[in-house]
Symmetry: C2
Subunit: 189 residues, 2 copies
DNA sequence: TACGTCATGTAAGTCGTTACATGATTGG
DNA sequence: CCAATCATGTAACGACTTACATGACGTA
């Protein structure tokens, strides 16, 4: 799924501007399985327009900058169906967090712990967003896709929280050992 | 995490060739969070060699093509630690499957069902691989990363299986309805 | 004999990101 | 008044993929 297909797909749900498309892809409830920036969306929309797969009308509401609202055409729908008939490419994830985690034994404990805490916060937030989106969503296929994200992130969150607890228990032990060490040193002094 | 860092990281575990690195990244138990092809790995290794972050020795076992076995240097370790101190980039997933699923109501039922079945098979296989890897792994940080993959994929698999069942129940109903319709038509005739 | 695996590497091309340029409006 | 949001767009650059080139060995 390149940015072209993504725009086409999103426009098949409703008319919107390039700005809106980026929001859906990067911040909305689609963001757990795709991504796109302005620098790729705007050229894609121009191209799609040239090919007659989308059209736009210029909207000028006062008090707001003018915007181009894009609509998918018949030809665009046909192109989308065509894309949907090809074999989907395999899904892929790039997790820098997991890469970093491979070296947790070579970092100070606090550094990896910080990464974990941030990750947990990040996923909690995303999960809240997805759960909210799920409630306010009538469209069954979207419910499925959002539900997938909820299931996935819930599992990951549980896993991370359990691991953080384990980490803290180990730390507590070491911490106590350190305290004892400090006491011993004091007694010696 | 670019290919450069990936190579450096993998070589910090053990010496190996570019060919081996690609296997670990694209087929091994690292493949659920990264990806790299020959076309990026070989140039990265050349670059790292030029910068003195890795070295290699040419190995020629008879009956096999010669291979370059790379090792990370002191300088390479230092570079890796430096990388690990930067903020990790956010994780991102690209799921063409989920994108397709958004249009499941505009496809023939069987088409989406096929996608589901394939996805389930794919994830089952990956999960088996991860579980096997987890058993044979002594390195704690790797256990964490593999465990993450197991947790994630288990949840996704459960979700997909549940949804497939739901799909088939709906299909059964429609199927029965169709049979009844066929009977009615016959009776009419 | 033909295919799969091991093994390295390059070149062309694709795709997308980052940063820049521009500018109006709203709210703190 | 400054920052954020809304809004569009381009150009340079970077990173990676795909396809190609090469070749030996083992096995079905």
């Amino acid at each position: 799924m390149n940015v072209r297909s993504l725009c086409l797909g999103i426009l098949s749900f409703s008319d919107m501007s390039g700005y809106d498309i980026r929001k859906m892809a990067s911040e909305g409830h689609f963001s757990h399985f795709c991504e796109a920036s302005y620098g790729s969306i705007y050229p894609a929309l121009s191209q799609l327009t040239n090919e007659g797969l989308v059209t736009f009308t210029e909207e000028t509401l006062d008090g707001k900058p003018p915007r181009k609202v894009y609509s998918i055409t018949e030809k665009g729908h046909a192109a989308l169906f065509h894309i949907l008939h090809e074999e989907p490419n395999p899904d892929r994830c790039k997790s820098e967090f997991l890469f970093y985690s491979l070296f947790s034994d070579k970092m100070p404990t606090s550094q990896f712990r910080n990464l974990m805490v941030k990750k947990i916060a990040e996923i909690s937030e995303k999960l809240d967003g997805l759960e909210m989106a799920l409630e306010g969503c009538e469209h069954e296929p979207s419910q499925f896709a959002i539900g997938y994200g909820v299931a996935l992130n819930t599992a990951v969150l549980t896993y991370l929280k359990a691991h953080l607890e384990k980490l803290d228990q180990q730390y507590a032990k070491t911490g106590n050992a350190n305290k004892e060490l400090v006491m011993e040193l004091k007694n010696d002094a």
